[in-house]
Amino acid sequence: MTTPERTEVLTGVRVRGLTVAGVPSGAPIVDSVDLDVRPGEILGLVGESGSGKTTLGLALLAYYKRGTQLAGGSVAINGVDLAGAAVRRMRGDAVAYIPQSPASALNPALRIRTQLGECGGDDARVREVLREVALPDTDVFLRRYPHQLSGGQQQRVAIAMAFLGRPDLIVLDEPTTGLDVTTQKHVLETVRKMCATYSCAAVYITHDMAVVAELTDRIAVMYSGRVVETGPARTVLRSPQHPYTARLLMAVPDLDGRREIRGIPGHAPSPVRRPAGCAFAPRCPLVVDRCRDEVPALEDGVRCFRAGVSRFEVVERVEVPVVSADAALEVRGLSAWYGSHQVLEDISLSVPRGQCVALLGESGSGKTTLARAIAGLHPRHGGEVVLGGESLPPSGLRRTPLQRRRIQYVFQNPYESLNPRKTVRELVLAPARVLLGKVPDGLVEDALSQAALSPELASRYPDQLSGGERQRVAIARALAAQPEVLVCDEVTSALDVSVQAAIVELIAGLRERKGLTLLFVTHDIALVRTVAQHVAVLEHGRIVERGPVAEVLAAPEHPYTQALMADTPRFDTSRFSQ
């Protein structure tokens, strides 16, 4: 596939047939990837967890983690092959890497000065770059250790480190994970500015479509180790040609609330289990026989036999007026401590029956503590938790089985909240057995089907399930106790967008169909719109704003909420619907 235009590309980055395989399985983790990035251009590399983004990103620096190795293909930067003896010289100089979590990628034992100094460039250059990323260039700052910097500062140091050697290509692997949206916005601005200043080609790895839409010039969508669609960002986002891209876009929560989100059923295969033929076939709504036998080639930027058939469809979201209802759950004047450190101060909150209240706040604001206090998991609190007019004892141990049954809790991380030694059936049954006394027939099957899981899964163990399936099991476990109130603590934050959308659909459906009352804890303001009727914004342990979602998001009053609305990247649907 050598079009005349492509052979001309000598400046910038040129990747051909790059394949990285697992050792010893030999299964390709990254499979025949072709990419071109011109100087000054930012390429967004998107895909779900495990699609091979990090592996590909590292391969662009000819680096292969333990357990992986190069199995073919080449990377050339400005016409120079990145291979053999040239690799060490080119790293840092021609190509640099900005890691996912600077907290663990900066050496804890070395001063900032040392870590910046070894990237090439003299003292004056170090200070110049520090100024460019809006960090102080003082000796005091240079003498610091990484732990003396904030998360945003650490990430800027990592960016400064990468640009010190004036590289031609820079690879950024989810550089804003774990940062709050305001810091993320500043970091993204810095990245954009630096790439322009140095006319440096950039590969920006992320799973966040909204970031891609704001930042990048071109997009490459990865699925199970292969690039399935690539092209200018605007074109791909406006009219995705591959069914996976289209469905992925439909799963992105819409901050402006004009569109419903739709999940993709199933989950991405691991490299060892990748089906023959098109890897997306088991989840693809358009699949035909041919897809299962033959791997489609990348043609005109799309890897699909039925390219262009599926389109990005906007499922219009209808704003349902909020009706008033009596409070199923009330919190009155709740304060909580860890030791002598107060994390919650005088919180009052009311959750109307059959509705969903979103508790919005960034990490450290105290949202999990509040959720745990309500569920009786954090007894060190003052104030009152009232369930259906009845005040509950602070400790879950003191609550009656009936009281405990009525409030159920779903944890953030489905990889940790399920006992790996128990089957799904035992997991789902355990709380029901304690709380219901007599277990009705078919309870497990019923709970699983409510959580949209096949009853066949009942005999499996958690490690035989995907992340999304695990979270559904956790939900089924809660449902089996037949609760009135479900407390969901960041239940989607460990999951991919497409899986997150499916879980959110499930939870919203449970509320609509079964009249379940929900407290939905999240840090993602875009999700609030989709799930909740009411929102309470938590900052430093206090509720700073509350009200019906539509009103609060339309006209936020507190500066913190305003900043959240302003700094969260928009994935503007009006640009895409035709």
Binding site: R91, G92, A105, L106, N107
Partner: protein, 313 residues
Amino acid sequence: MVRLAVKRLVFGALILWAVSVVVFLATAALPGDTAQAILGREATPERLAALRLELHLDDPLVSQYFSWLGGLLTFDPGRSLVNGLPVAEFVGPRIVNSLVLMLTAAVVSTPLAMFLGTWSAVRRDRAADHVTAVVTLVLAALPEFVVGITLVIVFATGPLRLLPAVYVGTGQVTFVDLVLPALTLVLAVGPYIVRMMRATMIEVLESEYVQQARLKGLPERTVLLRHAVPNAVGPVAQVVALQLAWLAGGVVVVEFLFRYPGIGYALVDAVNNRDLPVVQALALLIAALYIVVNLLADLVSLVANPRVRTAIR
């Protein structure tokens, strides 16, 4: 940091005091009569009584303890019951001999073991690594007298008669006398340090900051020496300290085996002769050594951790 160090120091002193109580009570509880042991079976009751009076053996335990403690604090732990020499004079040169032995073992084993551990981690899963793993495991499992005897057979009594099997001098030690005992101690403490260093280095080498250092294009030497090793030293210092502290006790067996004229050998001798002042002084000395080495290790791991270092300023 100074405050922390002082706190540890005070704590160490407290432990030492507690040890002194235990040592005193334990020696006092030893079966048999000290005076009888000194004078032998034919001693007349009058002579026994006179000796008891001289040694304050009939005083209440508490007053015996305090007069002993007072003696210790003024560096006068009494006289040996066997040869009548002041304990300090008798023990002094032996302390020097033991310290020489222990220091030699420590100075040889620590860097060597840390180097071997690092090397093994760098060559992870290759032949050299597997061989190191097996050898260190076997050495760690063998009691030190077995190692010592094997060394004697190989280097002293076997075909290679290079070194003396046991010490035969009169108090002065030379290099040749030192080799086998020191080597035995090195082989006893080294394997743990090697294994710990290997495990820690493997973890550090897998870390993201080491990956990042490689991605900066730094030479592998710099990556290893500047980025990896300093981060492994902190955790390993604890194990090194435990091993070196073990030396303080382990030296007893090894000195006895080689008849090396140090405190360990002297202790065994003194116990056999019921030479109480010597036993007490030596037991306390060994405990003190143990505490000091642990204290040093704590300080090293504090200094190796920039979080602690900077929090102090």
